[in-house]
């Protein structure tokens, strides 16, 4: 199980750094949802299915929805074909 945990932690931390470094907020939000995804798998690995389910519901559904709505209304959501 060690290698699986290691891979998930590396993916999670890499996307956490990406959240702070990416200029575009759409990309940052995508990376943020990947962080909560990795966290959900880690919660399953530490045998907490209840917490994993909460994190899945919040991170995948409601959190993305909240941020998407708010960023759209803040005018930070620029769709570009290139760049």
């Amino acid at each position: 199980m060690d290698w699986l945990t290691l891979i998930i932690v590396v993916v999670m931390l890499a996307s956490a750094v990406a959240v702070l470094l990416l200029k575009d907020f759409l990309a940052a939000l995508a990376a943020f949802s990947v962080v909560s995804l990795g966290l959900s798998v880690l919660f399953v690995i530490v045998r907490a299915p209840d917490v994993a389910m909460t994190e899945a519901a919040i991170g995948a559904g409601l959190g993305s929805l909240l941020f998407a709505l708010a960023l759209r209304r803040l005018g930070l959501w620029r769709a570009r074909d290139r760049g």
């Binding site: 060690d2 931390l13 956490a16 702070l20 909240l66 803040l74 930070l76």
Partner: protein, 148 residues
């Protein structure tokens, strides 16, 4: 390497990245993202406090009672903490919306300047205008899309 060391590294790494984001960022929305990361790391750390190797989930399935079960108390704490976290996130985002609506900027430096000006105005204090005073304050730059 032990699984527990990897897990603790993940939790501490998330906390460190979250605090770094709060301290270094100048954009309000980026700070809210960083608060989310910090909260996630804290939740993981709380859950790891009672980790035991080989324990199974604290749920009885089909009348089969496992020999060693994980501690349900931190799990219950973290479960509610995550739901409250999303409430806090929503509140922070609505505050950011109000700030954008009122002042037209989300840059923390500009927001701080505006705040000081408003406090000065409300208190009736003239901005310092002596010959030895530092250069007048730059007008708040109206950046709306900022980097890290």
């Amino acid at each position: 390497m032990d699984t527990i060391i990897i897990l603790y590294t993940g939790a501490f790494g998330l906390i460190f990245i979250g605090i770094a984001g709060i301290v270094l960022s100048r954009h309000l929305v980026r700070i809210i993202f960083a608060i989310g990361l910090l909260e996630a790391g804290a939740n993981l750390l709380l859950l790891l406090a009672t980790w035991r190797d080989g324990a199974s989930a604290p749920i009885i399935v089909g009348g089969r009672v496992p020999a060693l079960m994980a501690d349900p108390v931190p799990q219950a704490l973290v479960l509610t903490a995550i739901v409250i976290g999303v409430g806090i996130l929503a509140l922070a985002l609505s505050l950011a919306l109000r700030v954008q609506h009122a002042w037209g900027t989300l840059d923390m430096r500009a927001i701080r300047l505006r705040l000081e000006e408003e406090i000065d105005d409300a208190a009736g204090i003239e901005p310092p205008t002596s010959a030895d005073a530092p250069a007048p304050r730059p007008t708040a730059p109206a950046t709306r899309e900022g980097g890290a």
